[in-house]
Amino acid sequence: MTILETKKLGISFGGLRAVDDFSISIQKGQLYGLIGPNGAGKTTVFNLLTGVYKPTDGSITLDGENITGKSTIEISKAGIARTFQNIRLFKNLSVLDNVKLGLHNRVKYNLLTSIFKVGSYSRKEEEMNKIALELLRVFGLENEAQLPASSLPYGMQRKLEIARALATNPKLLLLDEPAAGMNPNETAELMETIKFVRDEFDMTILLIEHDMRLVAGICEEICVLNFGTVLAKGKTSEVLNDPRVITAYLGE
């Protein structure tokens, strides 16, 4: 079953064609890698998929629903969640509250309930605490639940960002360079975490990464971007041995 399909997706900033003719199709439960040299347009693709930029042409379909040109909020509700290249946590909020923000559109109560703390307030908050703590437990963060997010070490912040994204109950999870700034041990642990997330949550994951060991280790299919266009795509082992990919990105 196809979860994400993009057809001839493209965007221009003035005269610059940042992404052109980008067509991929990701199946449910797949771990899909997006690689390429710096400035190839990988993060731009993420920004197109999440509605930060509106594509100038092409279409995006998520689980059969056309989400081309929709706003970030609508796309989040439709089921795409993401993490960021430079970690973007709510620094002054607690670890628990960070995850509870992922539940913002899942467990709801209205403004009057907020202000007067009557009706469903306690029930809904308890429900949120339960889901959020369950997620934190999965990532081994439950003992840090009450700490401010900024006090976590780097690796845990990465995990918290993934937990927060998963809290939105997405159909597709986008990870933007999850291993950036990690040492080999941390990267190995992260690979386990990503695989675990895929299996445990039956998640479809699209990730951008420069660490080839991670990509080769966990991605079933990859797509190589170069100057905004698709250089090669397909089975990981095949693509990584493609001479064009080696010249453009991997190096001889």
Binding site: T72, S76, K77, N92, D97, K100, L101, R137, A165
Partner: protein, 345 residues
Amino acid sequence: MGAKSEKNKPFPGGIGRFRQKYDNNFLISFGIMIAIFLFCFLMIATGNATRHFKSLLVPAGINIILAISLNLVVGILGELSLGHAGFMSVGAYAGCLFSIYTQELFPIGVRFPLSLLVGGLVAAFFGLVIGVPVLRLKGDYLAIVTLAFGEIIRSVIINLDFTGGAAGLKNIEKHTTYTSVFIIILITLFVILNLINSRHGRAIMAIRDNRIAAESLGVNITYFKLLSFILAAFFAGIAGVLYGHNIGSLTAAQFDYNRSIEILVMVVLGGMGNIKGSIISAILITIIPEMLRGADKYRMLFYSIILIIMMLLNASPRFAEFKRKIRIKNLASALKSKSRQKEEV
């Protein structure tokens, strides 16, 4: 994932229903306010309160309302607004005009609360009208536009007839008592603290901490920005009505940008996003200039110096450490360990 085996581990700290609803922030802020009220009540009941003391109660209370409500925008939402006095004046004029024109219609017990509500609602409406275009701006730009709004309001009021023009609005009945101000403070605290500790408050703070991440989680930025802007304007408007009904007259000059800055100083001094701090600093900023009256022409000099010292102290890590030490909880444990040492000796 070995963490899974610890499934039955209780929540750290343990959140009961009551504590979920009313966190430390809430209980301490209410505690402070009730203690202050009891203190003032006792002072007055025992005849210890001077006229001067009594005359400061209402202005201090009004400043508390203004500081708490501005803190919602500046500290919780993280947007710099320099137009708080503008909303205050809109509310003041609306509420006071309402109470003047309905003098025969309602008895005072109905008219005063109604005029408070009218003042709040009109200010909130202005908050909405100004907020929609202005909240697209960020940081410095927003500050400048809100500053301009305050000034525009002031010149419009001076040039209108029904507001009494430059001469101002006179003959407003003086209904504001320190009890009524106290009640309004409690309502303001209740609404704003409850909001902060809820799904909506979390969303507002998320926007402050990282707008892009908040948006990616489906948080409606415009809605929550407007919500805090409107709520802050609403309470500023009510504070304005209380102000008018305390002084008995209104002139536009009272609501110039100095007033906005003064409220901002209270928020910054008390700590961004710190509601308890806003209460205390609002009281200090009201009292200090009055205490310095004896110093006559050096008054403003001393006032500025005290402000600078307080700001420096507030920002200093050593003072933060000192504050941590003198917390009641820590004091108690320090005393305990001392007495234990003595026993051992």
